[in-house]
């Protein structure tokens, strides 16, 4: 079991910015290639409240994926701090990190399910890792598959499922250990619009039912608009805008946010004149 507590303590209320569940400060990450360094995150500061659905938008290469992967340290930041509740996760040892990761679910663009395992066995995987008892696993798997509406697919293999169903399994797997946070790394980018909608509805639903904090990155404006409460715009490794979705897209300041809106308004109204583009 994870030993850290996510409840706001008196100490925290006094000494930290009260209320912020996740705090990221001065997060930096540089990828080193042979002869060149790529600074991907150049000092990110971000606060996310408990129970929020927080969206990070940006174009390819802005550093979204690296940012979200730093939160469960799939990517090791070079500098900066990430604190969740009262746990500074950037300072955790390897063992502590493994335990802590069980409390953060993540879903991926390409689902990353295990083909060798059935739906139920995929959902059981994180519970096995956490060392749960067999009977506990069985009941939890049943419960969670009901939540994502896949009870009839228990013994199917991922190879038999549609993209939307696969992502539901991904979500079920991510929720198995009762996480406090769900990270979504472009989880709907490989799905068609209709399936995207149903997956987003599911995320909304679990956010309400389980009081789960969701952080998602995407390059689809509609995703942000549909389910996010707050958001940040990432541009070239820096947060250039943040706030409620309404405030950011109501009066966009950054080039990225403006461009997102222009693309959203449609190619039809902008770019028809002789290769002028949008």
């Amino acid at each position: 079991m994870a030993r850290y507590s996510t409840h706001t303590t008196e100490f925290e209320a006094k000494h930290c910015d009260a209320g912020h569940f996740i705090r990221i400060s001065n997060l930096r990450k540089t990828f080193r290639a042979r002869d060149k360094n790529f600074a991907v995150l150049k000092g990110i500061d971000l606060e996310i409240d408990r129970g929020d659905i927080f969206g990070v938008v940006g174009f390819s290469g802005a550093g979204k994926s690296t940012l979200i992967r730093c939160i469960n340290r799939l990517e090791e930041p070079d500098e900066g701090e990430i604190t969740i509740g009262e746990t500074e996760i950037t300072g955790l040892s390897k063992q502590e990190l493994d335990r802590y990761r069980q409390k953060i679910g993540i879903i991926f663009q390409h689902f990353n399910l295990l083909d060798a395992r059935t739906v139920a066995e995929n959902v059981a995987f994180p519970l096995e890792i956490a060392g749960e008892r067999k009977d506990r696993i069985a009941s939890r798997v049943k419960e969670i598959l009901e939540l994502v509406d896949l009870s009839d697919k228990t013994d199917f293999y991922p190879g038999q499922l549609s993209g939307g169903q696969k992502q539901r399994v991904g979500i079920a797997r991510a929720l198995a250990n009762n996480p406090d946070i769900l990270l979504s790394d472009e989880a709907t980018s490989a799905l068609d619009p209709q399936t995207t909608l149903s997956v987003l509805d599911l995320l909304k639903d679990i956010n309400e039912k389980l009081k789960l904090t969701i952080i998602l990155i995407t390059h689809e404006l509609n995703v942000i608009r549909y389910i996010c409460k707050n958001m940040a715009v990432l541009e070239d490794g820096l947060i250039v805008e943040k706030g409620s979705v309404r405030s950011v897209f109501g009066a966009p300041q950054s080039e990225t946010a403006k461009l997102f809106l222009r693309i959203d308004a449609g190619f039809a109204t902008f770019g028809w004149q002789d290769g002028e583009g949008i």
Binding site: F108, N112, L113, A116, I129
Partner: protein, 234 residues
């Protein structure tokens, strides 16, 4: 002196006299192949896993160790099997007290086959997508869990194919070792068929080997396909 016709040779290849020589050789060959396979699978699997995991992009990166291990494997693989067998015969003498016969040969055979199977295991495991490994890591899986619960099960159909290739290579290497005092079908084929111009015995020995190889290839393909079908991947 009358020439022996082709028909007579074929007839003779299926005669009881010929099979009295070939059947014990089949037994020797199967004995050697079986035990070499057991050794090869066990150590080759470990070798393959070590090669994948200690790679600089692996789950337990130890680049310098990996380079040395890879170099040693390449060293063994660059030598013809015959040379490796000759080189390892003293090893057999050290372990078993003699350097001839089927038993002694098993060690020499395993030494030639382990590096090959190790590389095949490596490439099978490398086919498992990085995303799956990452998903497991994100759930707090330890390296042991990743190997046992992700890499090996996901790579299983490919591993079976690698295994099939290896068993067949073991059979042909066994035939080669046969000529170096190991016995078995290779020994019979060379000793009778080649040195004494007994084409009928040569033919019988070759036929048996072809049948064994076909059977193993068929079994491997079927099993691998069965698993892929069960997982609905084909």
């Amino acid at each position: 002196m009358g020439r022996i016709t082709l028909l007579e040779t074929i007839e003779s290849a299926f005669s009881a006299k010929t099979w009295a020589i070939v059947v014990p050789a089949i037994y020797d060959t199967l004995y050697m192949v079986l035990f070499t396979t057991i050794l090869t699978v066990f150590f080759g699997l470990i070798l393959g896993i070590v090669l994948v995991t200690t790679d600089k992009d692996g789950i337990y990166p130890r680049p310098r160790f990996n380079a040395v291990a890879g170099g040693i494997v390449n060293g063994f693989r660059s030598l013809p099997s015959m040379i490796v067998i000759i080189l390892t015969l003293p090893l057999s003498r050290l372990i078993l007290g003699k350097s001839y016969g089927p038993k002694a040969c098993i060690i020499a055979l395993a030494v030639t086959c382990i590096p090959m199977f190790g590389r095949l295991v490596e490439s099978s495991i490398l086919e498992v997508s990085k995303g799956k490994i990452e998903a497991a890591r994100s759930m707090g899986a330890k390296n042991r869990d990743i190997v046992l619960k992700v890499l090996l099960p996901e790579a299983l159909p490919s591993l079976i194919r690698s295994f099939t290739i290896s068993v067949i290579a073991i059979i042909s290497t066994t035939a080669l070792a046969g000529t170096l005092g190991a016995g078995g079908l290779g020994d019979v084929a060379v000793r009778f068929g080649y040195s004494r111009f007994k084409t009928d015995i040569l033919l019988a020995a070759v036929l048996v080997m072809i049948v064994i190889v076909q059977a193993i290839q068929f079994a491997g393909n079927t099993l691998s396909k069965f698993i892929l079908k069960r997982r609905h991947l084909i």
